[in-house]
Symmetry: C2
Subunit: 550 residues, 2 copies
């Protein structure tokens, strides 16, 4: 019996997994020759079941091959090619689209090639992005989600997913620390859009007329991003405001949102923070710009580069005193709420009026999975609803408050909840906690190693609060150089050159960037549960090996 017959049996057996072996016999069928079969032969074509099963089994084999290879340290993180090389069609892998169909055999080959020339983000030595790893339960959730092929629009088309969204939102609100009668929110496509929602809703809260009349009906508003907000200045400036000082580190999503929302990026005001990227309430420099009205402060839980957490209680006190909307961008840092060991770093987040939290980052949920939580219930709906009756009929036979589509600035939304819900079922809250702890242990290990090894220098001395560790590699020829512009100029080129070699070799991948007056440095982040201490050692060995002669 081949696996296609076998799968028929399993499908018909209504859920008992133990029948797999009982159902197996030795009967056999001829395998399908995909070189003469086309997509039109798959379901819904009449008699297409057999070919469909074989095709998806074959695809599964390709995907399983990739998954298993990804988890092996012997495999490469990437097989780099320049754009022009890939566009020329490497080894017959043509990206071009034609009028005529290709055979299913070619389609399967294209699938293999797509994976081959991509970047293995699940590899234990991929340290390049805040999202990494490949959670198998999350993956199963995504496969089911795409098989269900529905959207988050009305209860009518997505009853189960709509309820799962409610359950997840309530759970997350509880973890943030909001009471049972507080809390609203929505899953949306990424942290930048989540942050955009927070400004949108805050603006509506203070100035509901903006929805119909636009920004021209409002005074000139000012947005503060936390990490560079000087709190004393903010404290002293209740009726006036600030000018742009520095934008070196706050996530660009706030400025991007201000531009989109018609508020103007120059009305996003930022103040310096301390050496470890944390806002310093007493440190401030500012100038007053006449005519701006403050209404919104963005505090950050886990900055992108340093992983810093702002002092939320201090910020909340000021926001409370001056009736400002307090938002916490916990896209990256929210995951730490799942850990008993680390959640105190977010103390005061419960006082925020809105929170961004991306489970696709620290919690390892497959991309994308991002949420905006709003403390005050009903505001999101009021802000965004247009009540288009051709989309949201009120005379339906069920409780139409579950038709949540009009809360959104989208119309249909991708179903991002199921994979997350399934992972939560499979791990429990505790499982997420252990995962977070492990990533932060890796960061501590790297931090320790950097201090022990020759040739490495920390960008800031304090122990990292999140899993971000920032450092320079100093090649032997540069170790005697005095600090100054000459050394900086040379050091600035070290990280890019090492990264270039890394990409060519494909053995490991890590990001770098400059920041303010700091020249290019490596930022290592840990969010992949597959990563072990041996991978941290490998990273440092590899940087040393690749950068030794620079």
């Amino acid at each position: 019996m081949d696996f296609l017959e076998l799968s028929d049996r399993i499908i018909d057996s209504a859920g008992s997994h133990k029948q797999i072996s009982a159902a197996a016999t030795n009967r056999r069928q001829a395998p399908t020759d995909f070189s003469i079969i086309y997509s039109k032969d798959l379901l819904p074509a009449s008699g297409g079941e057999k070919v469909t099963k074989e095709f998806l089994h074959e695809l599964l084999n390709i995907l399983l091959g990739y998954i298993c290879k990804s988890s092996r340290r012997s495999g490469k993180v990437l097989d780099f090619h320049h754009p022009h090389q890939l566009k020329e069609g490497l080894e017959g892998f043509s990206l071009q689209l034609t009028d005529k169909p290709e055979t299913l055999e070619q389609i399967l080959v294209d699938c293999r090639d797509t994976l081959k020339y991509g970047v293995n983000t699940g590899h234990p030595r991929f340290f390049n992005q805040l999202s990494s790893g490949l959670d198998l339960i999350g993956l199963a959730g995504e496969w089911l989600t795409s098989t269900a092929n529905s959207n988050m629009f009305t209860y009518e088309v997505s009853p189960v997913f709509i309820l799962m969204e409610e359950v997840l939102l309530k759970k997350m609100q509880g973890i943030v620390g909001w009471s049972d009668d507080e809390g609203d929110g929505i899953f949306c496509p990424g942290g930048t859009i989540s942050n955009l929602y927070s400004i949108l809703v805050a603006r509506y809260y203070f100035y509901p007329e903006v929805k119909t009349r636009g920004m021209r009906a409002l005074p000139q508003l000012a947005i503060f991003t936390s990490e560079h907000v000087g709190l004393v200045n903010l404290e002293g400036s209740i009726k006036c405001q600030w000018k742009f000082l520095s934008s070196i580190q706050s996530h660009y999503s706030v400025k991007k949102s201000a531009a989109v929302l018609g508020m103007g990026s120059e009305n996003v005001l930022m103040v310096k923070c301390d050496e470890s990227g944390k806002m310093i309430p007493v440190e401030l420099e500012s100038s007053i710009v006449a005519g701006l009205v403050p209404f919104y402060v963005n505090a950050t839980a886990g900055t992108t580069v340093y992983g810093a957490f702002d002092p939320f209680n201090d910020i909340a006190d000021i926001c409370h005193g001056h009736n400002l909307w307090m938002h916490v961008d916990a896209a990256w840092g929210g995951g730490l709420l799942m850990s008993d060991r680390h959640r105190m770093k977010l103390q005061g987040i419960e006082r925020a009026w809105s929170v961004t939290w991306n489970p696709h980052k620290m919690m390892g949920v497959p991309l994308q999975c991002s949420v905006i939580l709003i403390k005050k219930r009903g505001l999101l709906q009021d802000c965004n609803e247009l009540g288009a009756e051709y989309l949201f009929q009120r005379d339906k036979p069920y409780d139409v408050s579950y038709d949540t589509g009009d809360k959104s600035i989208q119309c249909g939304r991708h179903v991002d909840v199921f994979k997350f819900w399934l992972m939560w079922k499979a791990k429990g809250s505790e499982g997420f906690g252990s995962q977070v702890n492990k990533c932060l242990e890796n960061a501590e290990y790297l931090y320790d190693q950097l201090q022990r090894r020759t040739g490495f220098e920390l960008v800031f001395k304090n122990k990292p609060e999140h899993s971000n560790v920032c450092f320079w590699y100093i090649p032997p020829t540069m170790r005697g150089l005095p600090p100054g512009p000459d050394r900086d100029t040379r050091l600035h080129q070290v990280a890019p050159r090492i990264k270039h070699r890394m990409m060519e070799q494909g053995s490991v991948l890590i990001g770098y960037q400059p920041l303010g007056d700091k020249v290019n440095f490596f930022r290592c982040v840990f969010s992949n549960p597959a990563t072990q201490q041996e991978d941290v050692d490998f990273l440092l060995d590899e940087i040393t090996r690749l950068g030794n002669d620079l």
Copy 2:
């Protein structure tokens, strides 16, 4: 040999599908007992390969069971339960999340239940939404996409997907009718966001200072939505404008976007259209509102309810004459460009400055897949880029113009291109054309049947231009009633009551809505290639059966 061993062989066999049978033997392994295994036992756990393979094979069997059942007409479209019923935990299906992990057996049962209580959007008798069907190649594409688990941010992390996006955008621009040296664009999360992009970019084109200074630096702008724009008025109003007249049919995305963008929903101005939902250039009613400056006209290719196409050349003439940005919302109608038989309905679309086109609607690509095309190259980047060097380093070893993340209003973006690219490979442009033709044939068949059968009445008499067919069912007791408020009041309740019964029975699903002065009517749309004429007959029989006694 069971399929797990078999798959090992296949994975190792480097691509030849014919080795499936050659690799098969009669060796056997004990099946895994999922009731004692947890997610922590899957990869990346040491020795987790076997369990991972078995788990994903088991999942595949569940998904295949669902896929095959979906395509059978004997299966239900949905198994409706009220929110409170699902929340109470039907047959042990608990939505609640706990601290402790569940076994993989429970996870698989949850997967089965999630599908069971969901809506079968791929069923040949699901006529409820503009997106329906389940394309198997698109599905394969989604499974691979989630396995690759990357995002559309930089070439560095998504080399292949970034290039596929470029290939698809160029192809679509060519089909719209733009020349080789025109055209830009981006894939984004849904048609409403695509339309939002068009207004955002148009605003920036005329008033680039809006990016930094906000709407308060601009005059009071007016947006026209096509279907209700009276062209003669528009023609005669070059220096002044219009008031809100009616918003009965234009897609709500334009108003929603105006609210988000800080432009104000009341500055979206609409004018009546004809009986079939098509804008009438000579028909106009308007009043002038002092102080508004027109800059943007949204024309529609395939309205949501009627499926109407606006006269693009007439609109383009006016936009050209008055230097207005012409956008075409072809979210629903864009698919018709793939058909030689129907593409003339979009004549003049090539004169638009931007186009929204959702392959996840008429082209059957799994949700979500939506694009905004912008004619003028570079504008999208200029409008949205902030040049955050911590995200987009310029000193990389490849052509960084492929780091397209800063074009977007998001930061990371979900990879929506691969499934579409793979479908195009598998079908060819011709395959999409046939698919579109078939859906429109079904609509014509329904249109004919409605005129032949007793008890049905068309909402508008003209042959539908798209696959939307709008009609009332008149129960026998109402057939003698004269037109008027009494008949309207009764008729208004017919569609909801039939739909209620449909949902309880689960045999078929179709949408209804009121529109302007028209009481509730059914709107049938065809976008699922699985639907045959027998399903159209079934729909009408079922409506008659369920509504006969009303």
